[in-house]
């Protein structure tokens, strides 16, 4: 049986998958492990993508489930480590513009303070451009839940970044 074209899958989906997993784990080593876990799973189950309508959505779901499992395994003992990592690893690309760099750093930390469920929804809405229906299908939650998680998350970010945002706007 012929397996999926892993190189093509990687080239097409690696970047969004990486950003999504990094946003959830906030740890480069964990992101690397989960990233590899997704591709190993694809290699081990050649029929996994058979009949899948959206490869991207399917891969994000795989990554999300793997990330949630990992976070449960780590539990509360790693919360300190997660917060520490959140301060060190930025979710965003570096820039030479100081205000923009500051905003990105603050946004990265503010995102890390959100619950993982809200963070996942916000990421898919803001940086993947998915609709609430698509997010709901990807994360296997009701659309209303996706919408409310997004609203709560956005309000928290707005409050957290209000001063900085007004200042550099």
């Amino acid at each position: 049986m012929r397996g999926p074209d892993l190189r093509r899958l990687y080239d097409e989906h690696a970047q969004p998958l990486y950003a999504f997993i990094l946003n959830l784990t906030r740890n480069e080593a964990d992101t690397r492990d989960l990233f590899q876990e997704v591709f190993v799973k694809l290699a081990r189950n050649p029929d996994l993508l058979a009949g899948v309508r959206s490869e991207r959505a399917f891969l994000i779901r795989l990554a999300h489930n793997a990330a949630i499992d990992l976070m449960r395994r780590h539990g509360t003992r790693d919360k300190t480590r997660e917060q520490f990592a959140a301060e060190k690893i930025s979710l965003f690309a570096p820039t030479n513009e100081p205000d923009e760099e500051l905003f990105r750093a603050e946004l990265s930390v503010a995102l890390a303070e959100l619950p993982a469920e809200q963070r996942a929804v916000m990421h898919l809405k803001l940086w993947e451009g998915l609709t609430f229906e698509q997010i709901a299908a990807t994360l296997e939650i009701p659309p209303n839940t996706a919408a409310s998680r997004y609203r709560y998350g956005l309000d928290k970010l707005r409050n957290r970044l209000r001063l900085l945002y007004e200042e550099i706007k």
Binding site: G3, L6, F35, Q36, V40, L91
Partner: protein, 142 residues
Amino acid sequence: MNDDFEQRLQRQPLRQVPAEWREEILAAAGRVSKVESREPMAHWPSTVVTRLLALLWPNPQAWAGLAAVWILILTVDFSMRDKLPVMAEKSAPPPPEVIVELKQQQRLLVELMGPRDTRDADRSKSLAPRPRSELDIEILTA
């Protein structure tokens, strides 16, 4: 409808995936793929165990109890089987003294019961099928 704040968030470029990961991750996935295709049956015991666990998971204690009961039944069954030949051996050859004793008892019994037996035997002979009228005469003359 997106406000300025949301649009600003959306415009933030995300960190790029490290370039060196591509070959490392694809190589790891490729190794798994090769091993799986070379040894398709290599991991069947783990698959069987996984499926068995999935089957037993809802009530592991109940299944363990059932298994214990079966083990007990089988143990008792096998231990009984082991004893059967011994019992057969014990009952097989009676010693000669017992045989002599038994014969003596049998003779004594015959002596004690002998006359009644013969009378009964005779009576049974006399009650052989015959016309009812003859029977009545015989009983009256006896």
